[in-house]
């Protein structure tokens, strides 16, 4: 209320609500601010704070490590650094699961904001992905400690790791957009996603290496899952064991990677398109 005389503003058409509305500057400001405050809220709101997001994957890691090295001995026989592979996989998968499952209900949970303020809708699901991303970064610090402690030597291929992270992040974002918009329409999306993400955990080479299969057909089938491609490539880049098949090898050539690429880009494009289409009506549908 400080300025009494301001330049005469021009009339400008109002487009109504949208996924991105309000300019990219505001979009990123909001995305960043909401992600950071949400992250702070979780970690300063509970007594043990950040430890919770570490303990969960670590317990899972401990249990699985015991099962697959002491009971089934699958891991330890095939992979030199099975523990590192397991931990890395669990941490990455935890990110994917946290980002997507938190985003499912995110738009509906923010009902008050969506129905009563002008707000680029896309910020809401993306903020859950970014918040999960912060967790991932912290957890990766622990992973680095483990990697070095287990005696994996650094290699130049470590520099490629961010590429895998980028693909994982974008994939999680695409999935989150689709899920959060679907949930507005169909409330059973949440239940379905719990099951699907459980299944995905076992269809991704986390607990077992891809070369644990006895046939290349099964390896190829596994490589239809885009997450499997990413995780396998991470294993190759970080652990750089001489015998480990790259995603390309496991898929049996570029052609074999096509289904995974189609699914990956399909999900991302569909997610963005669907969310964008639904965004103007979300406030009414709630």
């Amino acid at each position: 209320m400080s300025s009494a005389s301001r330049p005469v503003a021009e009339l400008r058409e109002v487009q109504g609500p949208s996924a991105l509305g309000g300019g990219s500057r505001r979009f990123f400001d909001l995305l960043w601010l909401i992600s950071v405050t949400e992250f702070k809220r979780v970690y300063f709101g509970t007594v043990l704070g950040y430890l919770w997001s570490l303990i969960r994957p670590l317990i899972l890691f401990g249990v699985l490590l015991f099962v697959f090295t002491q009971v089934f001995k699958v891991g330890s026989n095939l992979v030199e650094h099975y523990a590192v592979m397991l931990l890395l996989g669990i941490v990455l998968y935890t990110f994917f699961q946290e980002a997507t499952s938190n985003s499912v209900t995110s738009v509906v949970a923010q009902e008050g904001v969506v129905r009563k303020t002008q707000f680029p809708r896309l910020v809401i699901p993306l903020a859950t992905v970014v918040t999960a991303g912060f967790n991932l970064m912290l957890n990766l610090v622990i992973v680095v400690v483990f990697v070095l402690a287990f005696g994996v030597s650094p290699a130049w291929t470590w520099l490629l790791f961010p590429i895998a992270l980028l693909f994982l992040f974008v994939g999680a974002a695409g999935m989150s957009m689709a899920l959060s918009a679907l949930y507005v329409r169909f409330r059973d999306t949440a239940i379905i996603w719990v099951v699907v993400s459980q299944v995905l955990l076992y269809l991704t080479p986390i607990l077992y290496p891809v070369d644990a299969f006895d046939s290349s057909t099964k390896e190829r089938l596994l490589m239809v899952n885009p997450l499997a491609v990413i995780f396998e490539q991470v294993r190759v880049w970080i652990l750089h064991e001489p015998g480990a098949p790259t995603a390309l090898d496991a898929a049996g050539g570029w052609l074999g990677l096509l289904p995974a690429a189609a699914i990956y880009f399909g999900v991302c494009i569909y997610g963005a398109w669907f969310f964008n289409r639904e965004a103007p009506r979300i406030a009414e549908a709630l």
Binding site: A9, V14, Q15, G16, T37, G45, R187, T189, R281
Partner: protein, 423 residues
Amino acid sequence: MPVDDTTASPNSKDGPAAPGPGAPLAIQVEDLHKSFRIPTQRVDSLKERAVHPFASREYRELHALDGVSFEIRQGEFFGIVGRNGSGKSTLLKLLASIYRADSGRIQIAGRLAPFIELGVGFNQELTARENVVLNGVMMGLTPKEVRERQDAVIDFAELHDFANLKLKNYSSGMLVRLAFSVMLEADADVLLIDEVLAVGDASFQQKCADAFHQMKIAGKTIVLVTHDMNAVEEYCHRALLLADGKVQFIGDPAEAGRDYLKLNFEAGGVSPTGLGGVESDGARLLECMVVDESGPEATGVESGEDIRIRTEVELQRETASAVHVGFVVTNADGLGIFEFGELMDPEEQAESFPAGRRFTLAAKVENRLAPGRYFIHVGVTSAGGISAYAENAATFVVFGGSKTNGIISPRVKFEVESNGSSS
């Protein structure tokens, strides 16, 4: 927020006059349509959709807005009033980019800050300071701008000592103060305000009133959506009355207010009680209603206008003596306000009243009643045990006029005599 003119009374209309027709437009709305599809049966799960792929696709169209057009000039304080369901909230949400219009065009000059509800987006788990930043960015400021202003916001809300307290530990009054200060600090060109005047305690309401007055002086364009006709008449240059999604009236706020009250009482509220609770012996009350000057039944009477009551009575037994028709008017609490009646003599009409004789009585009553709802009770009596009594035979509302203590507002004349001084 510097309040340099603290003596300004918000109760006066001494802000800048309404901008003339030459002033640039702040909001232009052309032929706006918005309807909602209300499914007769909501399909909320995939299973239902899969089991009945073609069923349950029936919708009821609800036309919330039906061709609304208006213009608001820059610097204008504009009121939007209407009954519940008239479409005013929809209009506000369209202006605020929360809903998308089906057709029509909305143009707005400059930045718009909507306040559909105070404190939306406040996060209970965060401190006041963090919430101020979050809310500011949501309203379109950059994080840098917000950080520069956050101290001013906290100061205006008088929450300096609690700035780092989580909102969940705030009292509701503190929350409202914080929300209101955030809103003022948003410094938008156009403010959309929905029913926020009715919050907070008296001193905070005064602060709000002062703030509105300041905004008016600062030449902001403000759109106020409210039920509170006093607020509209107090602040607004012009007002728009919406009814059933259409513009009923645009112009003088006082007139819009009167139309609004009329609409409110005509279209609903409480339906007349009719002739319930009738006890009769030998006479029957056929009709009792409050009517307009022109004849049809009315449910409201404007303050100061005569109350016209039409009553029709039928005698079921012959009677030679006079028939008395009496009326008692009570208020909503059942308190009798006044009574009146008429004695009808058979000599004037005929030798006696034969059975089946009907007569209609039209009464015109001077209206000194304070605004509110009133009930009319009718009694008919005659010799030979003829009697009929109807409780709540009719009801009406007195609307308009100024609020008053008490239940009637009689005309008063004063005469002042000077008796000299006492010393």
